[in-house]
Structures are given as C-alpha cells and as structure tokens.
C-alpha cells in the first residue's frame, strides 16, 4: 500500500491540535487509500497535500498557550501576570523604582543624544576616513605652540610630491581677514561669513553643490559661490549663476562672478560660512602669502587608503625646511573630524578639548544609571521576607531555580521597559529646554541606531538591576523558606549597605563638583576685570567708516545718551595681536617677552573705564599719535622701568614715548594670567566701541543706527553687546555648570528615593517592635534616633569616602583657570551637610510617621 508524503504528515502533526490530530490523520489516510484506488498515487498525493494545507486554519492549529509544548509562552504570560500582581501589592517600591529608573534613563537618554551630536560633527564627509589636516608646531625654546595656519603652497606641493596624498585643499577660514566683510550686488549690500578655498575644495569636502560643477566652480580666479539661503537674500528670486558682485578689498573694489550655489551647511559641520572665494583671488590680494615663510591657509589632505599616517606624519615633519632654508616650524597630521573634539594643543601635542566634556557626561550618565539600578537591587532584596512564601510554594511544587530566575528577570524587565517608555516621553518633552541649554538642535528620531541603543540600555539595565536579586531570591533552600529562616547573611547585609554608601558617595562627589563649578563660573562672570563691561556696544568700522571714523565718533559723542565712544583694534575677548618687538633700556640680549598689542583711538581708556595709575591716556588735545605709547602695570614690572612716564622704549625699531601706565586688567580669557601689554595709537581701527547710558538702550541703538546709516547707506547695522560676548567666552563652562547642576540633582534625588524605600520598608518590618517600645515608654525622639541611626551611619560613610575623591576632581578642573576661587573646606562641608540634610529629611519623614503611630494599630492582631 502506498503511503502519503511523509513531510506533510509531519507538518500536520506539528501544527495540529493534538486533541484532533489522530482522528483527522485517520480520516485523511482513509481518503488517501480510496483516492489511490480511484485516481492513482500521484493524484492521491496531490489531494492529500491539498487537504493538509487546507487544514492549516484557526480551529485546527494548536493553541499558543496552554500546557502543550509551547510552554514558554504560557510561563511568560504567567510571569507577567505575577509581576503585575507584585507591583500592585508593593506599590511603594514599584513607584520608587519607576520614578528612579525613568529619571535615570531620561538623563542617560539626553546625555546619549548630546554625545551622539558631539560625535557626529564633521563626520559626514565622504572622505572622512582619509581626511587629514596638516598643522604646524612653532618650537620656541621654552614652549611649543601649535598653529592651524600653514604656507599657501603646502597643500598643492604635498599632493604633487608625495604619492600617499591623493587630493588636497587649502582654505582661509572665516574672519581671518576681518569679520563681517560686505558683498554688494547692484544696490544691495550684505555682510558675509566668507572663506577662500582652493580648486578641489568640493572634492575633498562633501559639501553639497546645488548648481555648478564640482571640478569647475573654483577654477577661475574671479569665481565666487554663495550658499542657497545667502543667495536668495542677495539675489531674491533670480538665479544667482553668472551674476556680478562687488567686494570692497582694503584699497579697491573687486568684481567677482557667481559660479555656483552650495546647499546650506549641515549643522554637523564645525565650519560655517556662506560665501566662498577662490584661493587664487586671495593670493592675488596677498601675494606675500605665496612665500614659504608665511603661513596663513589651513591645509587639508585626502590620503590614499592604507596609508600609515604616523609614518607619513613624521616623514613630512621637516618638509617645509626643504623649501625654505632655516625654517624651524615642524608639521604634523591630525584627522580632520577629530579636531572638533580634540582641538587643544599643549606643547605640540594634541591635548583633548571638548572630548573632556564628552567623557565627563558619559561618566555621569553611567553613574546615574547605576544609582537607579542600585535602588532596584536594594528594594528587591530587602523585600525578600515578603516573598518567602511565594518562592517557597513555587519551589515545593517543583519550580526550578531557572524558572524562578526568569520570573524575577521578567519582573525587572517589565519595570525597566515601562520606565524606558516614560523616559522616552520625558526626553521628548525636555528636549526643547535641553537644546536651549546646550545651544544645540537635537531631535529624537527613531532611527535604527537609537532603537538599538534603547534596546541595549533596557537589556543592560535589566541585567544590572534584575540579575543579583534573581540569583539571591532563587537561591534559598525550600526548607529554610518555609521555616522563615532567610535572615540575610552578614555579607549580604553589607552588600546592601555598601550599595547605599556608594550611592551617597557618588551624590556627594556630584554635589561638590556642582558647587565648585558654579561658584567658579560666578567668580569669573562677576570678577573685577579692571574695566567695566556693562552698557558697551561695539561694531565694525565698515565701509566709509574706515576713512572717516573720527568724524563719525564725534557725531556719536554729541548724542546725550552716548557717554563715550572710541576706536579699538582689539575686543578684550582674547582676539589680539602679539609681538616680541619691544626693546627697552636694560633688556638682556636673550630676554624674550611677548607683549599684547592693543591698538586704540582717543578716549578708549575712558570708554572702558580703565584705571590709569600714572600719566595720561591718548588725547586729541595733546595731538597724540603713533610716537606715544601706554603700558600696563605688568609690562612695566617685567621691563623693570622705574618712573616710566616720559621714558622712551623702542617698538619695531621706532622710539616711543611712554605717556601713561594702566592698572592691570584682564584683556583675555581668565584661563590665562595677565601678561604684559601696550597700547599704541591708531585712527583706523577695525571696530568702534560705544558706552551708552543705561535705561534707554533701544532708543539709543536706533539713534546710533540712524547715524551709521547716514555714513553707510544700505549697509545693515550689526552690533554686539560687549557683556554678552564676554559671557559667551565662558559659555561652555556655564553650560557644563548648569548641566552638572541638573544631573547632580537627579543623582541625589534617585539616591534619596532609594533611601526612602529602604527606610519605609524597615520601619514597616519593625512596626511591632516600635509598638512594644512605645508601650514600654520610649519617646518619639528615641524611636526616630533608633530607626535612623543605621542609615545615618551609611550616609556619613558615603560622605567621608566622597570628600577626598571630589577634592581631587575639582582641584584638577580648577587648575585650568589662571584665576580661580580658593578651594576651602566650606565646599566640602556644605556638600556633606546638604546630602546629610536631604538624607535626614527623607529619613525623618518615614521614621516620624512610624514613631507617631499608635501602638494599638501594630499590636492589635497579636
């Protein structure tokens, strides 16, 4: 007798409800035999197959749940049901866990987004992996400085002479030759952020071209490109290509032709510009840059694949000296996309930068998450006595250790998944304020990488927080469980205590850091700088102001709301010239002193309210000019000149008469100490500074704009408030300090939640003891002391451990400031007191409730 196809018999057996399987199979076989006789085996097989396939339907397939072989599903639904029941039964610890974990996860998520954003900067270029920048080290005898500037010919020459270099580009970054330069099309004038770039710029970098050919757009000297949005504000609706624009270069007006339009730059680009001129045009304007001895452009190289970068870097170290004899600066390579995070150089070595903050926040994220996990671990292991019976019964009826473990893991996973959902929602809600705080524009988009991240974090958190309780709770012997003998061993108790201690230690470190960082930032922002930074606005001497600044300033001064105004070639924000070209009587032949070079007009000293300690400032009445000079206190000290007024020093080979000494003031970032500087006179400085009366700023600025427009018709009046710009110098410190405050608060909040949960639990367990003690005459205060002394000890130990660690951390950070607060004991005392205080409030809340309770309530049932 022929048999039906085995495969389909097996298939039937696999899917069919076992209750129905045998009779159905019997029926099928009966039909099969009949069909074989009627139609032959082939046809019978086909009919059989058709019948089996048609049996694959809802009522015949075995159910997913139940007690059949798909038992895991049944167990899982059982475990989820039990988990929800235990959440309901222990509402307090459930809420504490949810609150703690979701807060922690929100912090982690926000930090992840921030770090991701930081790490994505400049990585979008297609050549990213091979894209390097050549940097120069200036090897002075006492210190090595690193420059991003290189000779103009370097890029092209390296490409031609080294086989490892595939492509190269050079570029003059924004603002190198004066910021806010003006471009003109017909009557319309706009200020631009412009760069000069060499021919292969668009091949080396992956900035998108909207129109124009990648290889052609920068090929002719008079070519210029604009960004899409800049183009539409300059040309309106019309197509920019081929339009002729003018740019005022120092002496004459140059004409350029728009050869292309590039898409607005992505926010991931660290360089932001809206107009590109050709490098040839730049070299035309500044022919001296063509020489090897002069450095200005940045050099970018695309290396061939599999190039040994370190080897190449040392190979080109002395490359320039082969072109220019006696050239002492050395070259090295750094990956371009790494420069954003590692943009600081110390003694010729790459010395971090923003990567420090990335690392700092990664550490904070991990700590906050660990603290939240510790809560979970503590609460679930402390709760063990409440679940003894459940575990005991399960074990007695044959639950294996594995299934108990999986139950607790499922419980943890469920809580954590819920917290994750809450955290994602909270993140979406918080992102706008977070962006405002960090100055970013991060969006939470659910792409593959973020889903992966959420999944991994959920998994790791589940294992971290569910793993230990699962192993611990499932490890008791059944007999002990029923006899109630699960007194935690000494080691287990200490593990729990240790975790609380750790939580508070971390919190104290964070609180101390927050205190120190914020007071240091306050110190900087409110420090007496030696000048007044409020109510000062400044703007560039654009257009015709360059020639008749004096008349313009005189006009400004006639306004009653203008207190003073002056020309200035510096901004006291760190952008300044420096020179060692000062010689004075008694200067040693090897003495090398760098002087800050500040070019100022009349009345500048008065405008900034700088204090003179001797002599006078530049003044119209004395007909002062370039033959006079002022120094700061530090410079006089360094030069060792006594009674300097009227003495002569030599600057760049010309004698200058010292007419005044200015009290020391901070003319650059407080990260640096005050160095010697001098003031020389100019009447054609790059910017104009105006001190205005407080109270009516808007009106005053409108008036200033009118005067400005009268001199520069059609040119937009863009100005800056000096104090805003000054605060911006410390923006990253401010951001870090605010962020640290929030995350510190989150950490202590979560720690206290955990403490709260633990105390609530122990007081509940000791209710009868408390009742008996009360009946026997214990006072409420005594009871509170009794209940909180254990926890106070833990918190105190945590604080003691944290203090030296936080000292080391904040001290290291403070050392990056030349002017810093004294790290005295009060910081540590107050952070200790704060965390102790918060802990006590948490403890007091619970213990007072327990101590106040009527003993009848707790003893009644005995």
């Amino acid at each position: 007798m022929p048999n039906p196809p085995k495969l389909f018999l097996k298939f039937l057996k696999w899917f069919c409800n076992p209750n129905l399987h045998k009779p159905i199979e019997g029926d099928l076989l009966e039909f099969y035999d009949e069909n074989v006789e009627l139609h032959g085996k082939r046809r019978a097989d086909l009919i059989f197959i058709k019948d089996v396939l048609l049996l694959f339907r809802k009522d015949i397939i075995k159910p997913l749940g139940g007690t059949y072989s798909l038992n895991t599903f049944g167990m899982l639904s059982h475990q989820i049901k039990l988990a929800f029941r235990s959440f309901k039964r222990f509402k307090n610890s459930f809420l504490i866990n949810i609150l703690g974990l979701s807060t922690g996860l929100t912090a982690v998520l926000l930090i992840y987004l921030w770090i991701n954003d930081e790490l994505s900067v400049d990585r979008f270029h297609q050549n990213d992996k091979q894209l390097y920048q050549a940097l120069q080290n200036i090897n002075n005898p006492d210190e090595t400085f690193t420059l991003t500037n290189t000779p103009a010919l370097l890029a092209q020459t390296l490409e031609e002479e080294l086989p490892e270099v595939e492509m190269s580009a050079s570029m003059i970054p924004v603002g190198s030759y004066g910021s806010d330069r003006v471009i003109q099309y017909e009557d319309r004038k706009l200020k631009m952020d412009d760069i000069y770039a060499s021919e292969k710029f668009f091949e080396v970098f992956s900035y998108e071209l909207v129109s124009g050919d990648t290889k052609e757009v920068l090929s002719k000297k008079e070519n210029v490109l604009v960004s899409e949005s800049f183009g539409s504000s300059l040309f309106g609706e019309t197509d920019p290509i081929g339009k002729v624009v003018q740019v005022q270069e120092s002496e004459d007006t140059r004409t350029y032709i728009i050869s292309g339009v590039f898409a607005d730059l992505p926010k991931e680009s660290s360089k932001q510009f809206d107009v590109i001129f050709t490098m040839d045009a730049f070299l035309d304007l500044h022919p001296h840059i063509r020489e090897w001895g002069n450095s200005d452009p940045s050099t970018f190289l695309v290396l061939k694949e599999n190039t040994d970068v370190d080897q190449l870097s040392s190979k080109i170290e002395n490359f320039i000296s082969t072109k220019e004899e006696g050239y002492r600066h050395t070259l090295f390579l750094q990956k371009y996309s790494e420069r954003y995070l590692n943009g600081n150089y110390e003694n010729g070595q790459i010395a971090g930068g923003r990567i420090l903050y990335v690392k700092l926040f990664s550490a904070i994220a991990i700590l906050v998450l660990v603290i939240a996990c510790i809560n979970f671990v503590n609460l679930s292991t402390a709760r063990v006595s409440r679940r003894i019976k459940e575990i005991g019964v399960k074990k007695a009826i044959g639950a294996t250790r594995g299934s108990l473990i999986s139950q607790f893991i499922v419980e943890a996973g469920l809580i954590i998944s819920m917290s994750m959902v809450i955290a994602v929602m909270a993140t979406i809600l918080l992102l706008p304020s977070f962006n405002a705080l960090t100055g970013k524009s991060i969006l939470l988009t659910f792409d593959w990488s973020i889903i992966q991240f959420l999944f991994i974090v959920t998994l790791v958190t589940t294992i971290l927080s569910g793993g230990y309780p699962a192993l611990y709770l499932s490890g008791f012997s059944t007999l002990n469980l029923f006899q109630g003998r699960v007194k935690g061993s000494f080691a287990e108790l200490w593990a729990r205590k240790g975790l609380v201690i750790f939580q508070f230690a971390v919190s104290v470190v964070l609180i101390t850091s927050v205190l120190v960082v914020s007071s240091q930032v306050d110190f900087i922002l409110n420090r007496d700088l030696g000048f007044q930074k409020d109510h000062i606005i400044y703007f560039n001497s654009d257009g015709s102001l360059q020639e008749n600044a004096t008349a313009f300033i005189d006009e400004l001064k006639k306004e009653t709301s203008v207190i003073n105004a002056a020309q200035f070639g510096h901004d006291l924000l760190g952008n300044r010239g420096q020179t060692s070209g000062v010689r004075w009587e008694g200067k040693g032949p090897d003495e090398f002193v760098q002087f800050g070079n500040l070019e100022i007009g009349y009345d500048l000293i008065e405008t900034f309210n700088l204090e003179l300690i001797a002599g006078r400032s530049f003044s119209d009445e004395h007909g002062d000019d370039g033959r006079k000079i002022l120094f700061n206190e530090e410079a006089i000290k360094v030069m060792g000149i006594e009674d300097p007024i009227g003495k002569t020093v030599n600057l760049w080979g010309y004698d200058r008469e010292v007419i005044g000494v200015v009290k020391n003031f901070h003319f650059e970032s407080l990260h640096k100490e005050i160095t010697p500087c001098f003031f020389q006179f100019t009447n054609a400085a790059s910017s104009i500074v105006v001190r205005i009366q407080s109270g009516n700023e808007l009106r005053t600025i409108e008036r200033l704009e009118e005067i400005y427009q009268a001199h520069n018709p059609g040119l937009p009046f863009t100005f800056k408030f000096f104090d805003d710009e000054y605060d911006a110098l410390y923006r990253s410190e401010l951001q870090i300090s605010t962020l640290a405050k929030y995350f510190g608060a989150v950490a202590i909040l979560i720690s206290c939640l955990g403490l709260f949960g633990l105390v609530a639990f122990t007081t509940e367990r000791r209710q009868k003891e408390i009742g008996i003690r009360k009946v026997l005459g214990s006072s409420e205060f005594n009871l509170m002391m009794l209940l909180s002394s254990d926890f106070s000890k833990m918190v105190a130990i945590g604080i003691l451990i944290a203090l030296p660690i936080s000292y080391l951390l904040v001290n290291g950070w403070l050392e990056s400031f030349a002017y810093r607060i004294d790290l005295d004991f009060t910081f540590f005392l107050s952070s200790g007191l704060i965390s102790m205080g918060i802990a006590w409030i948490t403890l007091g809340f619970q213990t007072l409730k327990a101590a106040k309770s009527n003993p009848v309530e707790s003893l009644r049932y005995e």
């Binding site: 199979e25 029926d27 076989l29 019948d51």
Partner: protein
C-alpha cells in the same frame, strides 16, 4: 437567542451527523455531504466546523479503536446532543415561520415579471 448560532455549513454538518446516526465520523460525513449536496468539502473546513460545534456543545465525540486501513488511527464518531437538537429545531422553526410569513404574491414569478415590465 445567541446560543443557537448556527452557520449554514454548520447546519449542513449537523443534519448530516443526524442522518448518519451512529456511523458519523470524518470520512462518512464528508462523503454524505458531497453526495447529497453535490459539492466538494475540504477536510479542513469539515474538521474546523466539527470542532466549533463540539466547542458549542452541539455535538459530542467518542473515539473508537482504529482499523487496519487507518494505520491504527482512531475514528472519532459524533453524536447530536440535546442542546444540538434544540439548536437544529430552533433553526428549522425560524425558517418555517419565515416561509409562512411570505405573502403568496411575492413568489409569483409570473406576476413579478409583469410588474417589472
């Protein structure tokens, strides 16, 4: 009302089981339907209907040891329960009452044709 829910195919199956009396199992039921109604019935559709009817307690089943030709697989015989009988009668009486409610004229095809014209 709800408890007598009986689909068209389910009703056919019930009737067939009743006809076959104590010889109603998968193979015979299927053959009976196919010959009486002259339509093909897949094993799947039939077994699903039988399972549903059993779940509704309209049918009970009992297994009998299998014969040689079935490779020892048991035959599952079906019988109508009291509830099943009630359901069938309910369906029949509702049908009848509906038939009775039809006015003669509505089925008068001749008149209908005239009416349409």
């Amino acid at each position: 009302m709800k408890k007598y829910q009986l689909g068209e195919f389910e009703e056919v199956v019930m009737l067939t089981v009743a006809i076959l009396y104590d010889n109603a199992y998968g193979v015979t039921i299927r053959k009976e339907i196919e010959t009486r109604l002259d339509r093909g019935v897949s094993v799947g559709a039939l077994q699903a209907a039988l399972k549903r009817l059993e779940d509704k307690k309209f049918l009970v089943s009992s297994d009998q040891a299998g014969t040689q030709e079935r490779a020892g697989r048991p035959k599952r015989y079906f019988k109508i329960t009291a509830l099943g009988k009630e359901a069938m009668e309910y369906v029949r009486s509702t049908r009848n009452s509906m038939w009775d409610a039809i006015p003669d004229i509505s089925l008068d095809v001749k008149f209908k044709a005239l009416y349409n014209a």
